[in-house]
């Protein structure tokens, strides 16, 4: 451990702003990529579900038996 106290750790010997900006930006970019991939997956699933629902709806309009 290079630091004796929490204040010292946050101050980073006067370079705190730059160090924490960098690590913060790194965290944001990583989280963004993870979340964006997740959202893309959910959107893709939703698109397939919508498509299926439309298909089901158009093929069973006369039977009027909706499953949902």
């Amino acid at each position: 451990m290079n630091f004796s106290s929490l204040e010292e750790f946050i101050a980073m010997g006067g370079h705190g702003l730059y160090v924490w900006l960098s690590y913060g930006a790194g965290l944001i970019i990583v989280v963004y990529n993870v979340v964006a991939a997740r959202m893309k997956f959910k959107r893709a699933l939703q698109a397939v579900r919508d498509r299926e629902r439309r298909r089901a709806a158009s093929s069973t309009t006369d039977a009027s038996s909706r499953e949902e």
Binding site: M1, M12, H15, Y18, V19, L21, A25, F41, L45, E52
Partner: protein, 254 residues
């Protein structure tokens, strides 16, 4: 013989979707552990640089981001070649999904480079060999992104981007070499941010861990995005419909 079989299988989105499910979690878990260990080590335990003080800790973010950004571009060049020569569907999907990660990592490398430059050189921006190369890389990524946006048909866009990525990949070494030479012309030998050979092991160990971690993160992230893209493109096929039906009956929310 086995290799050829694997090659053929890689061409099948369905097979890829099945094996990538668990693989994604393995890579994601590895990435989480490695990045946590590397970053905490770099932030709190790695030694202080005698010239740069604590600002040297920015290296543990900057260098992995810059390295992975460059590798992603090279990967896209390779995917472009595979797509143009063998017309493999999966290569097209890699090409379409790798751009956001590479672009954001390039932006991160630029930002952290600026934040490192301010305490080290006294300026947010210095035309150093590495920062300049990263800036050019950013423009290459933006070009790929813009070309894809400009072409309406996905298949055409994929192949056009393949040509561009390939030409860009051929050019990257030349660009790097020319930028290095340009620097000696205008600046002379100056203080470089990191000199790998002079780095003590307590410094390059966390760096290596973070580099490995960010590669694993890229792998997991790329697989995740590719899986989404596969579902999107194959949405009319039987196996995707069955997959969705299975997910719904199992009560899993996506």
């Amino acid at each position: 013989m086995r290799l050829k079989e694997l090659w053929h299988r890689l061409g099948s989105p369905r097979w890829f979707f099945q094996i990538s499910g668990p693989l994604r979690w393995v890579l994601g878990g590895l990435a989480l552990v490695l990045l946590l260990v590397g970053s905490i080590w770099g932030l709190a335990f790695a030694p202080v640089d005698y010239q740069q003080g604590n600002s040297v800790r920015i290296m543990y973010v900057h260098v992995p981001a810059a390295i992975v950004a460059q590798s992603v571009y090279m990967l896209m060049g390779a995917a472009g070649l595979v797509l143009l020569v063998w017309r493999m569907k999966m290569a097209d999907i890699v090409l379409a999904t790798a751009v956001p990660f590479g672009l954001t990592m390039t932006a991160l490398a630029l930002f952290t480079g600026a934040a490192w430059g301010k305490p080290t050189w006294g300026a947010w921006w210095v035309w150093d060999a590495r920062t300049t190369s990263v800036l050019v890389m950013l423009f290459l990524y933006i070009g790929l992104y813009a070309l894809r946006q400009a072409i309406p048909r996905a298949e055409t866009a994929g192949r056009a981007c393949a040509v561009l990525a390939l030409v860009g990949t051929i050019n990257i070494p030349i660009i790097k070499y020319s930028v290095d030479w340009w620097l000696t012309l205008h600046q002379g030998a100056s203080f470089r941010l990191t000199e790998a050979p002079t780095m003590p092991p307590e410094m390059w160990a966390p760096l290596a861990i973070n580099v490995l971690g960010v590669y694993c993160l890229f792998g997991a992230n790329l697989l995740g995005r590719m899986r989404a893209e596969i579902i999107e493109r194959e949405q009319g096929t039987q196996w995707v419909r069955e997959l969705i039906a299975g997910r719904r009956s199992a009560g899993e929310p996506g």
